[in-house]
């Protein structure tokens, strides 16, 4: 019983720990962006190796796809920043 009340008291002081959620969210967003852009880079390099004369086309498409995926990762970052500062 006293253990429960101690836990309840401590849970009320957990407000600053809620900010840890922002950090974890940002980390997961970084992982997601890293995996996504890593796959793009890998397939781009592979296709350049297969057909070296299409380097220009592949490079521009790779950059566009990377920018789009980074946009999604930045959504998560913006939400985490909102947690921290709002």
């Amino acid at each position: 019983m006293s253990l429960l009340s101690v836990l309840l008291q401590e849970a009320a002081n957990l407000a600053p720990v809620a900010k840890m959620g922002a950090g974890i969210g940002a980390g997961i967003a970084a992982i997601g962006a890293g995996i996504g852009i890593g796959k793009i880079g890998a397939s781009a390099l592979e296709s350049i190796a297969r057909q070296p004369e299409s380097v220009g086309d592949i490079r521009s498409n790779m950059i566009v796809a990377a920018a789009l995926i980074e946009g999604v990762a930045f959504f998560a970052i913006v939400v985490c920043l909102l947690i921290l500062f709002l």
Partner: protein
């Protein structure tokens, strides 16, 4: 001939700049122009305040009513910008130096430095307490971002009007000077942004918008990387600016959408009828897609630029955080921080270009999609 023309254009631009600069310094105080502040006596041990990295980073990211240039011990150098308020239809304007960084109220207005209305100018009563019953006046102040917008507009007009004049004066000659750096970029916008999105037949109509959006975003991103005045104002990291840019794209897409485009949204062909009636799931999803596209444009640009600034500022603050612990730790970290800062700045230069490119490219793709003609599904025969 060209030189004479350019010199008159330059003269006019210089006069306009002086006019704008003079009006931004206009205030009712006796100590005019750039104000050198002295630390307020009631601040206490101002110069002994610990280095607050979070506050410094936020101050560099957000808009402000003055343009802070530098602080050396007690010496603050900043340009106070005019405050323009519309209070119940009445226009009030004065210099923001009257607020003394939010300590004093002036003419019944006060700049809040904390609380719910942090950063806003609200009405106060005679004795300085917040007048909770009054509405917050509409704030049309010339803030740091607005001045930066004017500066970048001036830069854009200067550069492009001068090269446009040169093209008119000397058509079909080799480019010289400013033309030779901008012509490849303009051709890049035409060949790699406008034509892939819009097709060879329809791209000309949209070239002015795409060029403007591309160069506006590119120049403002670059200006944001310059550490001192007139750069460094983080304009494209202001979500209101990116919202307006995305709104332009959205409005143009909506107005040029042809019947095929709207049919694909609200009555997509090939979708089973029970997704459209009685509960229009598919139209709802497609309509949300129409709304999320400009929203994503807005957030992508804002988050990329702001995140880049925060990273750079964070690494610079590391030096001071470590320096406060132990001065030699500060020196040691500064080597690493500056090296990483140079790398991040190079990356940010690339991001400045890429974000402008992606914004313009996606805009042209959306315009192209809005004007697409109806394709009949073709019967594919197997090829040998």
């Amino acid at each position: 001939m060209v030189r004479k023309l350019l010199s008159t254009v330059r003269l006019q631009i210089a006069i306009i700049t002086l006019f704008v600069a003079g009006s931004t310094f206009a205030n009712t105080n006796t100590n005019d122009t750039v104000t050198t502040h002295h630390v307020q006596a009631h601040e206490g041990a101002h110069d002994e305040k610990a280095f607050d990295a979070g506050a410094m980073i936020i101050d560099h990211i957000v808009d402000a009513h003055e343009w802070h240039i530098l602080t050396y011990n007690d010496f603050h150098l900043s340009i106070p910008l005019p405050v323009i308020l519309i209070d119940n239809g009445k226009l009030v304007s004065f210099s923001s130096s009257n607020f003394h960084h939010g300590h004093d109220a002036y003419k019944g207005y006060k700049l809040m430095t904390e609380g719910d209305n942090k950063g806003k100018i609200i009405k106060v009563t005679e004795d300085g307490t917040v007048d909770a019953s009054a509405k917050i006046p509409l704030d049309f102040s010339i803030t740091k971002n607005v001045v930066s917008l004017f500066i970048s507009l001036l830069l854009l007009c200067l550069i492009f009007i001068s090269i446009a004049n040169r093209y008119k004066k000397h058509p079909d000659t080799a480019p010289k000077g400013l033309q030779s750096i901008l012509e490849p970029i303009i051709l890049f916008v035409r060949d790699d942004i406008a034509i892939p999105g819009l097709g060879k037949k329809k791209y000309k109509r949209f070239m002015p918008f795409l060029l403007t959006v591309f160069f506006f975003i590119f120049f403002n991103n670059l200006l944001g990387l310059v550490p001192i005045f007139p750069g460094g104002a983080n304009l494209t990291g202001n979500i209101a600016i990116t919202m307006v840019l995305a709104l332009f794209t959205f409005v143009i897409t909506t107005f040029i959408g042809n019947k095929n485009y709207w049919m694909h949204i609200f009555n997509a062909p090939g979708v089973p009828w029970w997704l459209k009636f009685p509960i229009p799931l598919m139209p709802l999803v497609e309509f949300l897609g129409v709304l999320t596209k400009p929203f994503v444009l807005m957030v992508r640009l804002f988050a990329n630029i702001t995140a880049g600034h925060i990273i750079l500022l964070g690494f610079m603050s590391l030096i001071f955080i470590f320096g406060n612990m132990n001065i030699f730790a500060g020196y040691g970290v500064s080597v690493f921080s500056i090296a990483f800062g140079v790398f991040m700045t190079m990356l940010e230069l690339l991001v400045a270009f890429i974000q402008a490119y992606v914004f313009a490219l996606l805009s042209s793709i959306y315009f192209g999609m809005a004007m697409e003609e109806h394709h009949h599904p073709e019967e594919h025969t197997t090829e040998h």
